[in-house]
Amino acid sequence: MHKGVLMHPIRTTRTAAAVAAGALTLAVTLTACGPAITSGETDAAGTAAPADRLQAPTEESPQGEITIWDRSGDLFNVFEAVIDDFNEVYPDVTVHHEAVDIDAKLQNTLITGADVPDGVFLDDAKVAGISDYLWDLTDVLAPYTDDIAPQKIDVNSTDGAIYGVPFDLDPGLLFYNEKALTDAGIDATGIETYDDLLAAARAYQEAVPGSKPIHLEQSPFLGQLQLEMYASQLGTALADENGELRLDSDEYRQVLGWLDTVNQEGLGTRAEYLSPSDVGALESGDQVFYPWAIWFSFAPEQQLTKTSGDWRAMPLPAWEDGGARSGAMGGSSFVLPKDGENSDLAWLFYEFLMFHEDGYSAVWGENDTYPNGLATSIPAYVPAADPAKPLFGPVEGLGGQDLWTTAVKAGAQIPGGAPAPTWWTGAVDYLGTNVQRMYDGDMTPDEVIEQSTADIQTNLVDRQ
């Protein structure tokens, strides 16, 4: 009487299995679907042919339309406002500016080659992964290359070609709660090395029992990004310029060892960057040291309502006396896909935005979106990052500190880097995750290095 919802479950599922087997045979013979298949090796990757090098337009007043993609949010509004200034110089270039879910769309758009934008805002770590689809910018950037922070050039380079117009430099800084530390009788300005930082953290914990003064990042992605900041200070990175893994090195052993010590001694607050838990520990004075990229400055400015104004920023401690006092963490660039219709005009836009005073002043200086200027990064273009000519004003969340000068000076110390390997994000599953296991006490620094090296090599490097 109750006729069920499935009619002939067994038979239909069996039919499905039979169909699957049939489809397999069909698909293998059906050569119409899919890309052309070669029997031999794919082309050996050589250096980019000159045809892949973008050239600037030669006309007096070039004309055309360009489409550029940016993430939605405040930065989008900042760039939007610069378009008018750009059009005063290049009145015949129409800019279509779109807020787009870049992570979800870019790869697919590039593969299909349909409606490809002329320029895209992209995390540095993702540039190398799609360099096959991008213009080599060596020629157009040539007049500026010497004046761009070396780390930004390196991170955007693959096989001797440059694939991104460097946007921002994100120097790592040590943010600290000056009021809380002073109340505990600690003078943070004396911190020069990571050993000093450990000592200060121990002293603070003694003065404020139960506190866990140093931030330990809990997001595997950001944790790996921060690890690269520490490594960048030591002039190294996950891969060298040939894409060879170099995690198994004294530098990484030193950094991981230090993080492990912080954790083992109970000196670290483990939380995700600005999650409610993190904010809580920052506001209560339990977490007073935050070694992070300059973009943390947004937190005391807007998010830390109770301790806003108590915070200060200083260059990172050095790994040894006299070592570099900063490393790069994150950062973005503009890439120009080869399939874009008017890539050369998009270059003009980015050239104006990054290398003309009117452009970069409009981005980092006072604007409608940031009345005080964009204080979450500094220009990668050295002439724009002039200590004597601050683009953004003093930061109130940092007690009116002149963050510009601090950041620019720190930025100048960042050692050169290496191109982010195509598999950098994929490595988070191994390295980023294993760092968290170390914080759990389940792995030693050596085990993290050994295990991650093996996994990244077999699952990522060898499968390129």
Partner: protein, 310 residues
């Protein structure tokens, strides 16, 4: 793991005790306390189901930074429309509504026309190739749709359909589940009814429109509402198929906002985007909720009709 072990025995236990109160034609000797218990249980569960959504609707009116720093607090004096104002200024949500409406109407119409018609053939006719075709439908039901995205995009490119309504409408217009479900429903329509009509001279298509459709109308209403919800809330394919802002549907607008939070929180405006996202999500949810409440009788009866008594 722990929830399973903790919840299953508890659930089973209460299933036994509560069930005593629930037999339909009950002569209830101890019915009253059990009925109160059932009522209380349902009420608590319903509140738990509603609470997160209510939280989102309310939080959209809180200052953005408070949403993060004090998620549970509610300062009535601080309520603001700022999140909505910013959201309207930042994202093309009006265009999103418009595109969603276009896709909803066309795609919905195609599904509601093609699925029952094909399901009728699957359920009530024997024809060579039927099992092969239906087996293929089952396979696509088992294949994660996410893997088809790049092949589909290449197809859209070849057809010149990138950033068009066709690209948003046609792929997935007749989803395997709709066929699967409608086939069950139509299979339960008594054959005698169809044969009687045939004897009376009704044509094959006439049988479908005049006999089958009226009989399964409640289930069709159910399919309609389900289809509307699926199309309205779909975002995986639209996000890649509509790369131009001009073609962005509502969910594409939402996920563009969400990307700044979930993709990488390396942005400086985490809190403000969260506020904007909640505002946009509220605006997206409310029309659907209203339609849903207005049509819930049809919808629920429709699904209930999904298994017709034989």
């Amino acid at each position: 793991m722990t929830t399973t072990h903790a919840a299953s025995p508890a659930g089973t236990r209460s299933a036994r005790t509560r069930a005593t109160a629930t037999r339909p034609p009950g002569q209830s000797s101890r019915g009253l306390p059990a009925a109160v218990g059932s009522q209380a249980f349902l009420l608590l569960l319903a509140l738990a189901f509603l609470a997160p959504v209510v939280w989102a609707l309310v939080s959209a009116f809180k200052p953005a930074t408070q949403i993060i720093s004090d998620p549970l607090g509610l300062d009535l004096t601080a309520l603001t429309l700022e999140n909505y104002r910013r959201m309207f200024a930042d994202v093309p949500i009006g265009q999103g509504f418009l595109n969603t409406a276009v896709v909803l109407v066309t795609k919905g119409a195609i599904t509601l026309f093609c699925a029952p018609l094909a399901a009728y053939a699957f359920a009530k006719y024997r024809f060579p190739g039927r099992d092969l075709l239906f087996g293929t439908v089952l396979i696509t039901l088992m294949l994660p749709t996410i893997v088809l995205i790049i092949p589909l995009l290449l197809e859209m490119k070849a057809l010149g359909w990138v950033n068009t309504y066709q690209a948003l409408v046609l792929p997935g217009a007749v989803d395997a589940f709709a066929i699967f479900w409608m086939r069950q429903v139509i299979a339960d329509v008594p054959d005698e009814l169809l044969d009687a009509a045939r004897v009376d001279g009704c044509g094959e298509f006439g049988i479908f429109t005049r006999i089958v459709l009226p009989v399964i109308r409640p289930a069709l209403a159910g399919l309609a509402v389900l289809t509307v919800m699926n199309i309205y809330n779909d975002f995986v394919w639209p996000v890649v198929a509509a790369s131009s802002e001009r073609m962005a549907t509502l969910q594409v607008v939402l996920s563009t906002l969400a990307q700044n939070i979930t993709g990488n929180r390396v942005g400086a405006d985490y809190a403000t985007v969260t506020g904007e996202l909640l505002a946009a999500a509220s605006i997206a949810l409310v029309p659907l909720l209203i339609v849903f409440i207005a049509l819930q009788r049809h919808f629920i009866n429709g699904i209930l009709a999904g298994s017709v008594k034989g």
